[in-house]
């Protein structure tokens, strides 16, 4: 009896330790980011860092203004969201409301398989197929533009958005559908006026998680967006994102230098953005459950 209690105690402590360790890891990572990154603000004030229009990390004196990178990330992400959100919601509606039997299963599995494609493979396809197409279509000097990145990232966000939206739609009680149809609504009216509003908070969460994935994506954008650190004026220009900057430059910096800590500071900014997106998504998901 005593032995059994002891065993219970040990197991309980182990579970507690693994739970706490995941929180501790996140805190440690954040602390490490802060420690390495905050140093840059001794040479560059925070305002100049966030709003500076020039990112010349190895010029003399160096300039660490991440506005072009923020704009690049925002443009690529915004473009990807604009493309993927309508498409994803439409596919989710198709899977949950229109497709029947094996077609439904095939679509569902297919979309989920999409998530399993490594981003570098999508980037590879983008470079060899999409970029030349865009260059020819718009008569550009290069096909490596924000648009190329947006289109590819839209495909990466789709599986997340589709499957969470589809869950949200399936969670809408069948009675709502019947009630709407019984009140003389067509299937389309039922979907747009009852189903989508009823699933709205789940859909917002899905979009947020999809966008979160896009913002954090590095490999494909580095391959596809041309990496020019200038403030873009259209989707057809090369841009450089926050993530691509870190990935491209980290290998060349001297540990402890201003450039090094500037890259970590970019990491802090990215962390803050992803964190707020996840937080918003979480709030919406909880709102669904509370109802």
């Amino acid at each position: 009896m005593r032995w059994r209690q002891a065993r219970e105690w040990v197991i309980e402590q182990l579970i507690r330790a693994s739970g706490i360790s995941s929180i501790v890891m996140v805190v440690l990572i954040f602390a490490f980011l802060l420690k390495e990154g905050l140093a840059v603000f001794q040479t560059v004030p925070l305002g100049d860092f966030l709003a500076g229009q020039r990112w010349y990390p190895i010029s003399e004196p160096p300039r660490f203004g991440i506005l072009p990178l923020l704009c690049g990330s925002a443009l690529v992400t915004g473009g990807a969201a604009l493309l993927s959100v309508p498409l994803s919601i439409a596919s989710a509606l198709c899977i949950s409301e229109i497709a029947k039997g094996w077609a439904k299963e095939a679509l569902k599995t297919g979309i989920e398989l999409f998530a399993a494609i490594p981003s570098v493979v999508l980037g590879f396809i983008g470079v060899t197929v999409l970029a030349p197409l865009i260059r020819q279509a718009f008569h550009l000097p290069t096909g490596l533009t924000a648009l190329t990145g947006s289109i590819t990232l839209a495909f990466m966000a789709m599986p997340t958005i589709v499957s969470i939206t589809e869950d949200a739609l399936s969670a809408v009680p069948r009675g709502y559908r019947e009630a709407a149809v019984a009140l003389g609504a067509t299937r389309w009216q039922m979907m747009t006026r009852v189903l989508l509003p009823a699933a709205a908070s789940g859909i917002v969460a899905a979009v947020m998680l999809g966008v979160g994935r896009v913002i954090g994506e590095t490999m494909a954008v580095m391959m596809l967006t041309g990496n020019a650190a200038v403030i873009p004026h259209s989707l057809l220009q090369p841009v450089r994102t926050l993530t691509a900057t870190i990935a491209a430059e980290m290998g060349e910096t001297v540990r402890g230098s201003d450039h090094y800590s500037a890259l970590f500071a970019i990491g802090i900014v990215l962390f803050a953005i992803s964190f707020s997106i996840n937080l918003v998504a979480d709030l919406f998901l909880h709102r669904t459950r509370a109802r």
Partner: protein, 253 residues
């Protein structure tokens, strides 16, 4: 058998879900401005029949049917479009399930999807339907609150109001009081009796006493067949079929 003055009529009406037959050649008529009660044990086909009357049954992909149903002499399944049918023949479900909208939006949902946009007309329909469902006095000060905040009985009367706002000719009730307490039940029944002067109604119920209280005529369904149909007083005092008698006296079901 089908009376010429019937509001609705079923003729040799059968329904299958996949390979299972739910209704076997039902023939009956529904007279204008009557409440027709349909009673019978579980799985007797009551609800299948009710859902055939406004073409809700066909939402189930395994639904198949044979025979005919008439509405004012027109074939429900051939001469009319399903949206049109559902506007003319409204239904109130067993579980009160308001849409996740405000009280006002729930009631004007039907008129809206039919294309009525005029604000004054919608307000008029709103008040008129809520009054007819005896709910107006209880909710007139909080029309923009979510409908989910109402009590179960109020929600069910809201569902009745929502159906009335479509200005239907026939209203189907599918065990409308199964989830309600006796006081709410009494209110819903009272509402039904008041509506009788203007609407034709069909009431499916598990509660034989309710059928006796509310309906003018009663049909007894058993295993997908119509066993007996008669005026309520006759059916409950001198049923012709022994199975009806057994059911009414509580020997089964």
């Amino acid at each position: 058998m089908v009376a010429s003055d019937a509001k609705m009529a079923a003729q040799e009406w059968s329904v299958w879900y996949g390979a299972t037959q739910a209704l076997r050649a039902i023939t009956l008529d529904i007279l204008p401005r009557e409440i027709l009660g349909i009673i019978g044990p579980a799985n007797s086909g009551k609800t299948s029949f009710l859902r055939s009357l406004n073409r809700m049954g066909e939402l189930n992909p395994r639904f198949r049917c044979a025979g005919r149903i008439w509405l004012d002499g027109k074939d429900l399944y051939q001469g009319l479009d399903s949206q049109q049918v559902r506007c003319r023949v409204g239904i109130v479900f067993a579980l009160p399930l308001p849409l996740p909208l405000s009280i006002r939006e729930n009631v004007v949902y039907g008129p809206r999807v039919r294309g009525i946009r005029d604000r004054r007309r919608l307000d008029q329909l709103l008040e008129q339907s809520l009054r007819a469902a005896s709910l107006w006095d209880e909710v007139k000060d909080r029309l923009d609150l979510p409908a989910m905040r109402l009590s179960g009985g109020q929600q069910q009367r809201l569902c009745i109001a929502r159906t009335l706002a479509m200005e239907p000719e026939v209203i189907l009730f599918d065990e409308p009081c199964s989830g309600l307490d006796p006081i709410s039940t009494a209110k819903v029944e009272e509402t039904m009796v008041q509506l009788k002067s203007r609407y034709t109604m069909v009431l499916v119920t598990n509660n034989t006493k309710q059928a006796a209280r509310v309906s003018d005529r009663v049909a007894f369904f058993l295993m997908g067949e119509l066993i007996e149909l008669d005026r309520t007083g006759v059916m409950f005092t001198t049923p012709r079929d022994s199975r009806t008698n057994d059911y009414l006296t509580g020997r089964f079901g």
